[in-house]
Symmetry: C2
């Protein structure tokens, strides 16, 4: 299974594609969609929509993950983040892909092993798990972590189902 | 000129299309795109995107207005509203239309004549200005008011330019 993780933001939207082959993970690609803070909001959102759509076209994921958000510094930043997040989700939906939402806690738990991990620990762990030469930029690392979280959960559910079926046979 | 106004929300997205013929305004259509609070967010956003795209296809506006927002009850409602607003803007951008943003103050000022007007005053004024049999639902009335605000500003700018050109000739 191939999963695209997205870490949306109006200035930087990180993305990362990971594949699972059996119980192993393979890094496919990652990157950042950047928009200029000086550009008008419609242009910036259009760029995020086009960017996410292009990544989906290029890497053909079967599912998309976006981090679930509950907190924000203030109402203004929440509004802005909501714009970027809504656009990323609708780009995935327009491509006919299922969207899964995980909290930062669930993602860190899945990737680092504990929910209060620092950003740098996530980056380092992503580098190790996907045997990358260098740690990806933070936004891309967070996106890859979201994708890994989904794969890990799907794999463990699949493994559990397989094990249960094995038992009952 | 034909303008589509949008009043975005995750549950109800109001829309309204108004045309200006000289200094007169003509009501073309209005409505609400509704989503179920029980549906998952990607599905709701997909519905808003598809709904706005369909309205654009059906009524062929030349410009789109979306109310600019600064305040919200809390971070959670700002995030949700941001999702809907981002999706509405990106649907207009995807259709190649320019998006104009006006504050509630500017819209009320243009339509009712003062910025602190009540919601019901906006509805009543929209009904009168567009000679409608009954007042449109609040979300659609706000959308129509946004479209009227843009037309009024464009018309008065055009009138001013024409007058200035007349003077210099």
């Amino acid at each position: 299974m191939r999963v695209l993780g997205i870490d949306p933001g109006t200035t930087v939207t990180g993305w990362g594609v990971v594949e699972s082959i059996g119980s192993r993970f393979r890094h496919i690609a990652h990157g950042c969609i950047r928009t200029s803070p000086e550009s008008p909001m419609p242009e910036r959102l259009g760029r995020i929509f086009a960017g996410v759509s292009a990544v989906i076209r290029d890497h053909q994921p079967e599912a998309v993950t976006v981090e679930e958000i509950f907190v924000s510094a203030n109402v203004q930043s929440a509004l802005k983040l909501g714009h970027a997040r809504g656009v990323a989700i609708v780009a995935a939906d327009a491509a006919g892909l299922p969207v899964f939402e995980y909290t930062a806690l669930q993602i860190k738990q899945a990737v680092v092993g504990f929910g209060r991990a620092e950003k740098q620990q996530v980056q380092a762990m992503i580098r190790m798990l996907l045997t990358l030469e260098s740690a990806p930029p933070q936004d891309a690392a967070d996106a890859l972590a979201g994708a890994l979280c989904h794969l890990q959960r799907s794999t463990s559910i699949a493994a559990r189902v397989a094990a249960a079926e094995g038992k009952t046979k």
